[in-house]
Subunit: 226 residues, 2 copies
DNA sequence: GTGTGTTTGTGACTTGGTTACAGACACCAG
DNA sequence: CTGGTGTCTGTAACCAAGTCACAAACACAC
């Protein structure tokens, strides 16, 4: 899982616009202490209760962060894309808490792992890194608040419609199973099936095994307004 | 609302254990730029969409932070007690975003208001302030994740039982209306009334107008386990 | 005691989650 | 091509929770 540095620190830093004017000494320290790791798709990189060992900067690929309830239902909190960091990891490092959710690679992921001690030290000395971390924190928190609002107050038919519109590609195709949609929205598979069937009955989508097609995106988005 | 400084910076800082070894220059800067404000109970200090002007340290009293849906349902996100800060405010300042929720004083509140510019500057220079802010951030985020879990997966009867046990005083009294309980849990008044009536039928609580009494806390807490 | 506003109770209905299966489909091995 | 296997989808019945509409009980001021 851990490969020898495939690139120099200077190289991978160029992937982070926000860090591009990182201080020289910070960069040097990162180069000597941090590791670039490659992780295959579908791997669990941390689970609820784990202690947090190192700060992760995602260079490429996507990490999905989700929670699972006792009875097996799941909800996706957010995704970490290239150039981003996982605030949950940051929070755990800063608060010395264990993780409160689960992180899974959705694709192959290349990331920089900065050991906790180095992260703490650099956070104290590097204005640029600090700004970067604080900024990520702020945007993720805003996302989580929207999520709370949706889960607490939102109607599922509308949340689903929005999700379909948002995630379907140009020809309206969405290659997800009903179960996967349920996890995206924190709902149950049967509920999603029911709702999709209703959309199909109204001619808004067409269902297939393993994927679906949005037919009437205009009508679907009108649904979201009302 | 803004009163002349009732105490010196040295005085109010003593209320924050985490800030007690704040750097001398930081303290001086705070003393000259920040204001101690007193706000009466029941005042809205920010609402969703507002821009954030200054960082707030609560010296005394309680601020409630909650969200309201279009159709009027509300949910309490967290409370800011004496010695704490509002992470939402921090996030807004750091991300230059507007507020995503509403803050209301539950009691009279005395707070230190640090102007945004000063806050940014001190965050860059004061290790102690930085640690304090990061720590608060981490703990609040953990709270919010628990909230998401509860709202998305939790059963209302159990959440309510837990709340009653948690908030009732020594003699089992809880001076809240059903509507207030509904807001605490992000539910609807009728649902709470129904559930409380069921608890009363089972002899677990006794209901009165404007308050209720927990009779069988043991049985109530057994409910939460199962 | 009467009026007024708040709080609580209740029934009917809708939405969403759970349980328990059955059927449909994809794909592999023989 | 055929049967077997695992995954995905459909459905019905039931329960939990939110919504709507309105009635009753209560607290308190006048």
């Amino acid at each position: 899982m851990t490969s020898p540095l495939p690139t120099t620190a200077q190289n991978w830093l160029s992937l982070f616009p926000a860090l591009e004017c990182l201080e020289n000494d910070t960069m040097a320290r990162l180069a000597e202490t941090s590791q670039v790791v490659d992780i295959p798709a579908g791997q669990t990189i941390f689970r609820a209760g784990d202690a947090c060992q190192s700060f992760l900067l995602v260079l490429g690929g996507v990490v999905r962060v989700q929670m699972t309830s006792e009875n097996g239902r799941e909800i996706i909190l957010y995704r970490v894309d290239a150039g981003e960091t996982c605030i949950l990891t940051t929070a755990c490092l800063l608060g010395h808490d264990p993780y409160g959710a689960q992180g899974i690679t959705e694709t192959q992921v290349r990331a920089v792992a900065i050991p906790a001690a180095v992260f703490h030290q650099l956070l104290a000395t590097s204005q640029v890194l600090r700004d970067f971390v604080f900024k990520s924190y702020a945007t993720r928190l805003a996302n989580l608040m929207v999520l709370i609002e949706e889960v607490a107050f939102g109607r599922l038919d509308i949340r689903l419609a929005r999700f379909l519109l948002d995630k379907a590609d140009a020809d309206g195709t969405l290659p997800l199973t009903h179960q996967q949609l349920a996890v995206e929205l924190g709902s149950a598979r049967e509920v999603i099936s029911r709702q999709l069937k209703e959309y199909e009955r109204r001619g808004l989508v067409r269902l297939h095994r393993g994927h679906l097609t949005v037919l009437e995106s205009a009508q679907l988005s009108r649904l979201c307004e009302a």
